[in-house]
Symmetry: C2
Subunit: 237 residues, 2 copies
DNA sequence: GAGGTTTTCGCCTCTCGGTCAGAAACCCAC
DNA sequence: GTGGGTTTCTGACCGAGAGGCGAAAACCTC
């Protein structure tokens, strides 16, 4: 077993088709949805799969995901894209071995991309039957998103450019799956410097009520906002 | 660009050699070290590279890493192994395209695996010249380790089975790269239920001093101990 | 037994998230 | 325009938890 490496000298090294998959998430009508397309052919005909496809010879995985998604959504609508994990079970595709690298993509709530006929949004807490290992990949994506909502500013990729605290709260609740109070959300995100007031006000709803102040995210690129609760580096004073 | 998928029907789908790499870390003499081997041949002859090798046809990536490492360390010494990320730059290897999936492996500080002649430990803050993109992969590994030290019990994989708080503090300091007080470390890890006293005492050093109480990690599998600082789910009371 | 060393323990402070109640600002109906 | 309903905003209080410090405990050597 020691020098197994030398058995496979460069020319005859085994190779595998590699695909890039994307878990694209969006908050729609107060619920977190994932984008899936319905497989017409076997295997798994009739079940729902993640968008994705083969890695091309001159492409990085990141570029590949972008290209795959181009047929589903306008790529510019993806406010955030990050690599999740790589699945390598030799039998994850019953036809032949493939290796798949999954990405997490987020779309702001104010957009509504036109999807192809076979593609649709599904609430993540009520997914239809999924193909291959795609169900567990979605689960990984959710875990990642939920964790990052707490210690980064990822929410910028789910929120419209400008919003009230109440609207932002809805997004957090939908994505996290549990209640969050507007008071806390506002204070925490403001103190961390994640949010800033635009100075403008939203028009009050038809039922009245005090008009909400509008906010925006200070940055629209991923930033870690809390260097992890415990065992922080000593604060210089 | 829309149906590019169909261009590559199953048989002629492009394929790439895939390799599994490992960033193996250990605290040695109060400093965090990474395991590297010195390349004898071009490209990058004379520079240092991460252990790794080709993914075989019937193997998962996780199994592959284990197999590659078998020639370096005894696999059972790896107390923790997790997937990091997948690198896909078409030109990361100047000879031919390869895709590489990196893993993070941790070895407890009380072990001293016998390494092959071309392989050695290097302090992570003073790495020699590295091959390919391996330098930046090590950087990713460090980032991941440091983050997880704060909100999980990963330290079990760097610590000996039994240790005093002072010893554990050394490990944290080495891995994190900044000072941590023993008082805090003890209190935090005890409250979180990560550590438990063994009831035994360490023999005092040659200079005397109060004998230290010995502790162990409650579990030796990865567990998240702090469900992220902010925006926690409401605590049921 | 005195002095030096190392660990442990208790106390204090400060920050921060969670909660709540009341004030503010708006609508609509009468 | 006045009152009731609705929504948002603000401030105050509370408790948990982390950081820091100093004293006490337990051991050594001389």
């Amino acid at each position: 077993m020691g020098s197994v490496t030398s058995v496979w000298s460069s020319p005859e090294r085994p190779a595998y088709p590699h695909q890039a998959l994307a878990v694209v998430l969006q908050v729609r009508a107060g619920r977190l949805h994932g984008m899936l397309w319905r497989r017409a052919k076997d295997p798994f005909a009739g079940t729902w799969a993640l968008p994705g496809g083969p890695l091309l010879p001159e492409e990085t995985l990141g570029a590949s995901v972008g290209r795959q998604l181009a047929s589903k959504v306008e790529v510019a609508q993806l406010a955030h894209l990050e690599q999740l994990e790589t699945r390598s079970d030799p039998h994850r595709d019953p036809r032949a071995r493939t290796v798949a690298t999954a990405y997490l993509g987020l779309i702001p709530g104010d957009l509504d991309p036109v999807l192809p006929d076979d593609t649709a949004w599904h609430p993540v807490n009520a997914l239809p039957e999924t193909a291959f290992d795609h169900g567990s990949i979605v689960a990984s994506a959710l875990e990642r998103l939920r964790a990052k909502l707490s210690y980064t500013n990822v929410a910028f990729a789910l929120a419209p450019p400008v919003f009230s605290i109440a609207e932002l709260r809805e997004i957090y609740v939908a994505a996290l799956g549990y209640e969050v109070t507007a008071t806390n959300l506002q204070r925490v995100l403001l103190r961390r410097g994640v949010l800033e007031p635009t100075g403008e006000m939203a028009a009050p709803g038809r039922a009245g009520g005090r008009p909400a102040a509008l906010y925006r995210f200070v940055t629209t690129t991923l930033e870690v906002t809390d260097p992890f609760a415990v065992l922080k580096p000593p604060v210089a004073r």
